[in-house]
Amino acid sequence: MRRLLCVCRNDLRQRIRDRSALLLAFAAPFLVSAIIGMALSGAEEFSTTLAVADLDRSPVSSEFLSLLQSEGLSNVLDRVRVYETATDVEQAIADKEEHVGIVVPAGFAAALFHPKEKIEINIIGNTDKTLSTSLATALSEGFAHNARTLTIGLATAQAVSHGKPVEQARLFAALEEGLDSVALRSDFVDGQVKPVEFGAVSMAVLFLFLSSMFGATTILTERQEGTLKRLVASPARPREILGGKLLALYLLGVLQMGIFILMTSLFFAANWGDPLTVAVLTISAAGASLGVSAVILAFSRTEEQARGIGSMIVFTLAIAGGQLTFGAVPDLLQSLASFLPNGQLQEGYLLLMEEGAGGNMKSVIVPLLATSGTAIAGTVTLATRWRKVLLA
């Protein structure tokens, strides 16, 4: 046990002396989430006025209008005023009465049912108000996309189930119900989680798993430099050597997350939720990162290999797990993410944020299982291949 702790302490001491490791583990995630926080929190203070004209006057377009006027968007859309014609809207923009305009042209709803026909929503922007313009574009595109997907889906479902032509009126009714659940389901504007908090969670998870790659490479660097050989030649047992090294990586993971959570709470006023549950989830999260380290280590002989294999694993995880897409993920990825430890972890932290003080272990049982499972699977994989790692 003395040897295991010796190895662990020695590794920790070295990491702390290594500026680039420190930067990666502690400074970089904080900086990046500060940047993301600033970019996103721009959206909080940012607000715009919107002019809208509905020339279609269909149930679908009125649904769109009521969405624009909904509570959920009120923090970014200061005021939404409805105009009669496209010209009125253009005039209002030109007179700088409104920041940006949206015109739903006639035939919008009908086009939804004809997949080959282009759906059009016209955005009338202002060159000084690019952010407002992009927001209006994003809202419209999101709506149009979801509406089309839904209509086609419904039409197909009904045609299949009744074996007869689809009635438009019934579709509209279904559409109206369905729209609530699809349109603009966005973590930015919809939930209680603030943009900066969302950024903090994804960065925390991203950098935790990034460090797992660097954790594996440090052990292989030792192999290249010859100190690993020396360790193996010492009276230490293989399990003491690997155990000490893994323990060091694990503690660094916990420390990295802990400091990050603390810093974002202090400086970004992020509310991570119930402290005890957050702590437990974090302890398990560091385990998952360790598990990934162990897998990378088990299948690499050199530092370069570990970087190659590691970046492949880590970036695949990050993309599929939703740390690089900021919630705006296609459904397929969304469901894939729930099978990944980092996807689950991100989900878990967001959940705790949403639940605030009311969150508890029960709400994050799946993320806990996913992360600790990864820890165990990774460590077992490495244990079966220790010879490959330690011996020449």
């Binding site: 050989k229 009276p235 020449a392």
Partner: protein, 356 residues
């Protein structure tokens, strides 16, 4: 100092074998190291020295053979490994840490009692002359200092057997000397050492016994004296000549038609009809003939640089030999007497040089 008589051998290796991808790099190697003995493994690059050492230290699994260290079979693991002070060929140190911190870590790994650690570290740093740099980071050390600390790590736990794998590679002459003097001191203190090198001078200076390795095999073993008798123990006298009658230097490394030289014989000889090479070789042949006829020599021949002569006692024969050569009109420019050495033994055994 340990009582050597009662101690088991520092190491016994029997029939070691290692194959990498069907290529046997250590083939049936057996040797043993007595307590307090400095044993040299001498061999060219790729001979298999490091591979043997790696197997002894438990760093590399062996394909066959047995190893015991200080009477403990290496299969016992930790106890056997604890007897060894292993100094790898590369500088295996933690570069972000100071010498003190490096040694402190290894003290923990070798279970040196905490109460003794500080004293041990001081003594060891003293031994390698790094005391006043103890708290500097290793990456601020010179190459020679790093080498010395590399060795210090192997000495810290007072091993029964110190294994040094080419400790002087890439080291300046001063550090090299320090290292060798250090090994001599340790030897005097009774520490057994396994020393690998491809410098025969190091093996000759430091080792009680030497094993010569080539292509994975231990091809000869013994004291320096024993090995040298393998070649027959003639001295080798190398002769070079100021100029040959053909007007070219006997030293073939010079361009053959070099610019006119300040050579009294030069113009006179230029008129002869022989080609320079022909004249040169005939001249050297004549010198060799004179040498062969000189009493006390065994044989003589022409070489690329001049002539070489073998004699039981080179330095005794030399005055007479030079006199005869001058009398015969072969003025000698340079003489070197080589006593029989391991280089010659290696050449004799393998037909190639140690550092080709």
């Amino acid at each position: 100092m340990r009582n050597k008589q009662d101690d088991p051998p520092a190491a016994i290796c029997t029939n070691l074998k290692k194959t990498f991808n069907g290529h046997t790099v250590v083939n049936d190697v057996s040797f043993s190291i007595a307590p307090g003995e400095v044993y040299g493994l001498l061999g060219p690059n790729g001979a298999g020295k490091t591979t043997v050492i790696s197997m002894m230290c438990g760093v590399l699994p062996r394909d066959a053979g047995d190893i015991s260290i200080g009477g403990i079979n290496i299969n016992e693991g930790p106890q056997a490994r604890a007897q060894i002070g292993y100094v790898p060929q590369e500088i295996a140190l933690y570069h972000h840490l100071s010498a003190q911190e490096n040694l402190n870590f290894w003290a923990g790994m070798y279970n040196i009692p905490r109460s003794e650690t500080a004293k041990r570290i001081t003594t060891t740093l003293d031994l390698v002359g790094l005391t006043n740099r103890a708290s500097d980071r290793v990456d601020e050390y010179s190459g020679g200092m790093q080498r010395r600390l590399n060795i210090a790590v192997g000495l810290l736990h007072q091993p029964r057997l110190l294994i040094l794998d080419e400790p002087t590679v890439g080291v300046d002459p001063q550090s090299r000397n320090t290292i060798m003097a250090g090994v001599e001191t340790l030897h005097q203190e009774g520490l057994a050492v396994l020393y690998t090198t491809h410098y025969m001078e190091e093996a000759e200076r430091l080792c009680d016994r030497i094993g010569i390795m080539d292509e994975g095999r231990l091809i000869a073993e013994g004291t320096r004296q024993e090995l040298v008798t393998l070649t027959g123990d003639d001295d080798r006298i190398e002769l070079s000549f100021r100029s040959t009658p053909a007007g070219t230097s006997a030293n073939t490394s010079e361009p053959e038609n070099s610019a006119p030289r300040k050579n009294p014989g030069h113009d006179r000889q230029k008129a002869t009809s022989q080609s320079p090479q022909e004249g040169s070789s005939r001249f050297l042949e004549k010198a060799a003939q004179v040498a062969r006829e000189t009493p006390g020599t065994h044989s003589a021949g022409v070489t690329a640089e001049g002539a070489q002569v073998f004699a039981k006692n080179g330095r005794q024969v030399l005055p007479r030999l030079l006199e005869n050569l001058v009398d015969a009109g072969c003025p000698v420019d340079g003489v070197t007497v080589h006593e029989p050495d391991l280089e010659a033994v290696f050449l004799h055994l393998t037909g190639k040089g140690l550092r080709d």
